[in-house]
């Protein structure tokens, strides 16, 4: 195979913020991603759906540089993520923040300290300012009265919301949410959806949201991508996905399995 003459460059289109180009990834024998192509414009909200274990989380971790592709390229804000060294990732991490599926809160810190952590690390030193922003972020997820608790003492939904507050506090250009409304009740779920919408409208945040909740997709998404068998099986607006004749898509969004009882 001939080596490419020059290293790949990001798209010239200034609107493009995130670009995945033919991304392949395998773990051991298992091929998880077999050629993912995806572009996201500034300010866009994309919902990523797909069966459990198909690689949604893995795809997200590629964007923020936690996982490197076996082949293919990832560009974020014009930077070639998978070519950066560990210590050169700082600019990516400033632009993009992430909610982990399991929240990944720091067990040794209170809710307040957890949420304040990225803000303090990004250089905000003024205590009053930090406190104000922490309260603001926690209010956005309806969690302002649990400041002093430690994560092991929180319920699953509370942990998730703390994780969301920690992901939004820096007002990054791009926020990746891995299942923000799983484990939340319908009202709590709507509070998060509204918050994501607000972030998009008010701050022009670009978001990718992994979710299984069809209702919130129709509320918040500009576009929906469905991951299936290691590829983007479907990409389109929420209305397009609802109208899609593809049986795999239809079974998925209507929650039909082929198993008969």
């Amino acid at each position: 195979m001939a080596a490419p003459a020059s290293s790949p460059t990001p798209s010239n289109d200034a609107d493009v913020f995130i670009e995945l180009r033919d991304v392949h990834k395998r773990f051991g024998k298992q091929e998880i991603l077999c050629g993912i192509n995806l572009t996201l414009k500034h300010g866009e909200t994309l919902c990523l759906i797909g069966p459990s274990g198909e690689g949604k989380t893995v795809t997200m971790k590629h964007i923020i540089g936690l996982i490197r592709p076996d082949s293919g390229d990832v560009f974020v804000g014009g930077m070639h993520v998978n070519k950066l060294k560990d210590r050169e990732m700082a600019p990516i991490r400033q632009k993009v923040s992430m909610l982990f599926q399991g929240a990944a809160l720091f067990d040794r810190m209170t809710v307040e300290e957890n949420v304040a952590f990225p803000l303090i690390e990004s250089g905000v030193r003024d205590k009053a300012e930090v406190k104000r922003r922490v309260l603001e972020a926690l209010e956005a997820v309806d969690l302002a009265e649990h400041l002093e608790k430690y994560p092991p003492a929180l319920s699953g939904g509370m942990r998730k919301r703390t994780g969301i507050a920690r992901a939004i506090i820096c007002r990054s250009e791009c926020i990746l949410y891995d299942e923000p409304n799983s484990g939340l009740d319908p009202i709590g779920s709507d509070i998060i959806d509204q918050m994501i919408l607000r972030m998009q409208k008010r701050f022009g945040v670009t978001s990718i949201i992994v979710t299984h909740d069809m209702r919130s997709i129709f509320k918040i998404a500009n576009r929906v991508a469905m991951l299936y068998r290691g590829k983007i099986h479907f990409l389109g607006t929420p209305d397009e996905i609802r109208a899609s004749p593809d049986p795999i898509v239809q079974n998925f969004i209507n929650g039909r399995s082929d198993v008969t009882g």
Binding site: I64, L66, D86, R93, S97, F100, A104, L105
Partner: protein, 207 residues
């Protein structure tokens, strides 16, 4: 630390006293025990204890953070895990290890002194004179240097085991066990070579 140091000092004294008495050297026990404690037993015992207590805690702590994605969360927030998790532990260990070695040596000597003066009826002045005459600054320096090096070995191995942990709680468990076992083994091996090197730099018995 106190207990291991003290009882090793005591048992070592007890054994060597009996043997030395056969040759009529019993008054030199203080000197032998003291030099051995400073150069070998003190740092090695302190190292093994620290590997078991602190090393295990480091590996378990960092390992738990790794498998619950807290380490990834740090990265995502632009904080390098080595800077945030390993470096402070490294510094703390470098500062505290010499004190722990000193503690282990001191209590070994106190115990040894008590065994000879109360257990056997050796005039305590003899013990002290011989001990002070034959223990040089070099012996103490060797103990401290070894403590320092052991501290670094334990921190590096334990933190590495923690950061390499995978597969949930099981992985944290194996990482912790590995941290203690590998640190202890490496420590004993390094001790041997360090002894050769340091004895070369600070020859035994020179005044």
């Amino acid at each position: 630390m106190i207990v291991t140091g003290a009882f090793t000092g005591a048992v070592f004294t007890f054994q060597s006293y009996a043997k030395f008495k056969e040759f009529g050297f019993e008054t030199t026990v203080g000197a032998v025990v003291s030099v051995a404690l400073c150069r070998e037993l003190g740092p090695v015992l302190a190292g093994l204890m620290v590997a078991g207590r602190v090393g295990a805690a480091m590996a378990a702590d960092i390992g738990t953070m790794k498998v619950t994605e807290q380490v990834d969360a740090l990265r995502v927030m632009g904080v390098h895990p080595v800077d945030y998790l390993v470096l402070p532990r490294f510094l703390a260990m470098m500062i505290s290890m010499p004190f722990l070695v000193a503690e282990s040596i001191s209590f070994g000597l106190i115990a040894s002194y008590m065994v000879t003066s109360f257990g056997y009826d050796m005039p305590s002045a003899w013990y002290l004179t011989h001990m002070i005459d034959h223990t040089n600054m070099e012996d103490l320096i060797i103990g401290m240097i070894k403590g320092f090096v052991f501290g670094m070995i334990i921190t590096l191995i334990s933190c590495h085991q923690g950061l390499a942990a995978e597969n949930g709680a099981v992985g944290v468990g194996t990482g912790t066990t590995n941290a203690v076992v590998i640190s202890s083994l490496v420590l004993l091996i390094v001790n041997f070579f360090l002894s050769i090197l340091l004895n070369y730099i600070f020859p035994i018995g020179s005044v």
